[in-house]
């Protein structure tokens, strides 16, 4: 009887404790959640034949960490991401499993637009292009990164061509041609984002892409307004509000990143946020 009573008390205490324990663990600092991952060489020799699940677990760790940051941002809490640790974890995952598409996909999503580490991302993507020889997304990513971020159109075109050859999709061939001849950077960015949003299922990643797309649409509308002003007046507008005064745009759009649009001395559309997330 005593043992039953004791068992019942312990079970009740345990049940009462669980929600509090779970809440406390949820409140852990974000840094603790990302943690540390050993060097890929050490991991390779210590995980026996389980390197593929270990690589996937490393990618998941980064994804959950990033998801937490996005959640916090939506609650007006801005935490500077541990980009270096995130990158190292992804790099480790890719060295453990050079076929892991999640690793490449996340590196492309998180380290180009937000951080600008395009060359490092391209180095990782090169590993993927070499191993995933059927995959057309990876040469597409490299081609896009070279053209859009590095303005290296000549370097981008061969990768777009490779993407077109692997996929047979005329879109990539069209992009390859456009990289040689076009110079409208914002249009290229929109085209890329439309393509990528259509095949994104992760909500956190999709939300960041959609915010970027909304901002680029605003920039495109403002650039068209500036071009119309220039052709009508023969000079650039002094302030962005002049476009509203002239009736070229109904109102100055609100930057979804929390900044304010303005025109620089060359008449180029800029924003104080530099299209990076700001505290609300």
């Amino acid at each position: 009887m005593k043992f039953r009573l004791l068992f019942g008390i312990l079970l009740l205490a345990h049940a009462l404790l669980l929600p509090h324990l779970s809440e406390r663990l949820k409140q852990r600092s974000v840094e603790v959640k990302l943690g540390y991952i050993p060097h890929p060489q050490i991991l390779k020799v210590s995980v026996a034949d389980h390197s593929l699940p270990v690589a996937e677990a490393a990618v998941m760790k980064v994804l959950f960490y990033f998801g937490t940051l996005v959640e916090k941002f939506q609650e007006n809490i801005v935490i500077r991401p541990e980009y270096l640790n995130m990158y190292r974890t992804l790099e480790t995952a890719i060295l453990l499993d050079p076929y892991n598409m999640d690793g490449y996909y996340f590196a492309q999503a998180a380290f180009t637009w937000e951080v600008g580490r395009v060359k490092e991302v391209n180095r990782l993507l090169e590993i993927g292009v070499e191993n995933r020889q059927w995959d057309y997304w990876l040469p597409f990513y490299i081609g896009f990164n070279r053209a859009y971020f590095l303005k290296d159109f000549a370097g981008a075109a061969p990768y777009m061509k490779l993407a077109a050859e692997r996929s047979g999709d005329p879109l990539f061939a069209k992009l390859a041609a456009r990289y040689f001849y076009e110079s409208k950077q914002t249009d290229l960015g929109l085209l890329f984002l439309d393509t990528i949003i259509a095949q994104t299922k992760d909500k956190a990643i999709k939300a960041t892409y959609e915010m970027r797309r909304a901002a680029l649409l605003m920039v495109t509308a403002l650039e068209k307004g500036v071009a119309a002003y220039r052709s009508a007046r023969g000079s650039n507008p002094e302030r962005i509000e002049d476009l509203v005064t002239e009736g070229l745009i109904p109102e100055v759009p609100v930057d979804p990143y929390g900044g304010n649009f303005y025109l620089d001395s060359d008449g180029r559309v800029r924003t104080t946020s530099k299209l990076a997330e700001q505290p609300k």
Partner: protein, 280 residues
């Protein structure tokens, strides 16, 4: 030249004894509740695979295959360790061997019967787990369409290669069991050899590269000698091929099979020699 009738009769009797001992040992293994528990855990692991693979952004199907293969491999490893390391020494301790030896059964037949029963049990488990894993992979593959086909043949090959690998490991466990009087040497010895044999190829490639030039010649020779002496379990790893539907070179399979046959044969001969010399 035809064998004399006495020899033929002796051969038939040995074969009969071998089959009878194998089936008797298999029945004992099947009745073991610890092994039921291990298989139960395997079932739970496989049931959880679709939930885990749904976290993947771009390769749910690939993650499901890799998790299923890893779960099967892990369970086969645990079963091999439990069966192989508790075979000979425990039978001697329980006086089971002494009672069997009163029958006209040679020690070699007795030992081979133990090994064959273990091999049959592992084969049955591998077939059941592969069938369950295949259902799980089919379910997970519907969550997000993959660019890659599911290569059922390569998945079956990966499991078969794992089975052969664990038979080799079982040979090591039985050899250590024949010289041991307790659980510790066979269990930890086999586990250590498994971990070292899984890592040896990585270490060998590492020291064969630039890093090896900085190592003293004697140490390098010791490392290479250990590499050739230890079982090389990397030869049986076709998981990457199975997960990403890559083509397997037939030569790799042939080499792995011959390697396993010669190594396991040598281990069983050594185990029989050791067991023959052991006082019961």
């Amino acid at each position: 030249m035809p064998l004399p009738a006495v020899l033929l009769s002796a051969k038939r009797m040995s074969a009969h004894q071998f089959v009878a001992l194998t089936l008797a040992n298999l029945r004992m293994i099947i009745r073991d509740r610890v092994l039921h528990g291990v298989l139960g855990v395997a079932g739970v692991m496989l049931v959880l695979v679709p939930a885990f693979s749904s976290f993947s952004m771009r390769q749910s199907q690939e993650v499901a295959i890799s998790l299923s293969l890893s779960a099967i491999s892990l369970v086969l490893m645990v079963l091999t360790l439990l069966l192989g390391t508790s075979s000979i020494w425990r039978d001697i301790e329980r006086r089971y061997t002494a009672s069997i030896m009163t029958l006209p059964v040679s020690r070699v037949i007795y030992l081979l019967g133990k090994f064959a029963a273990m091999a049959l049990f592992l084969l049955i488990c591998a077939v059941i787990l592969t069938a369950a894993g295949s259902l799980v992979v089919l379910l997970a593959a519907t969550q997000y369409p993959s660019d890659l086909p599911i290569s059922w043949g390569t998945i079956a090959l990966a499991v078969l290669a794992d089975l052969v690998k664990y038979l080799l490991l079982g040979g090591i466990a039985i050899l250590l069991s024949t010289v041991s009087t307790s659980f510790f040497l066979p269990f930890f010895g086999t586990l250590a050899i498994y971990l070292a044999g899984s890592a040896s190829q990585e270490v060998f490639e590492y020291v064969s590269g630039q890093f090896g030039q900085e190592i003293p010649a004697l140490s390098l020779a010791a490392i290479k000698g250990t590499y050739y002496l230890l079982p090389n379990f990397a030869a049986f790893n076709f998981k990457v091929h199975a997960v990403y539907a890559l083509q397997v070179q037939p030569g790799s399979v042939v080499f792995a099979c011959i390697y396993a046959a010669t190594y396991t044969g040598l281990l069983l001969i050594l185990a029989a020699w050791s067991f023959n010399r052991r006082a019961l």
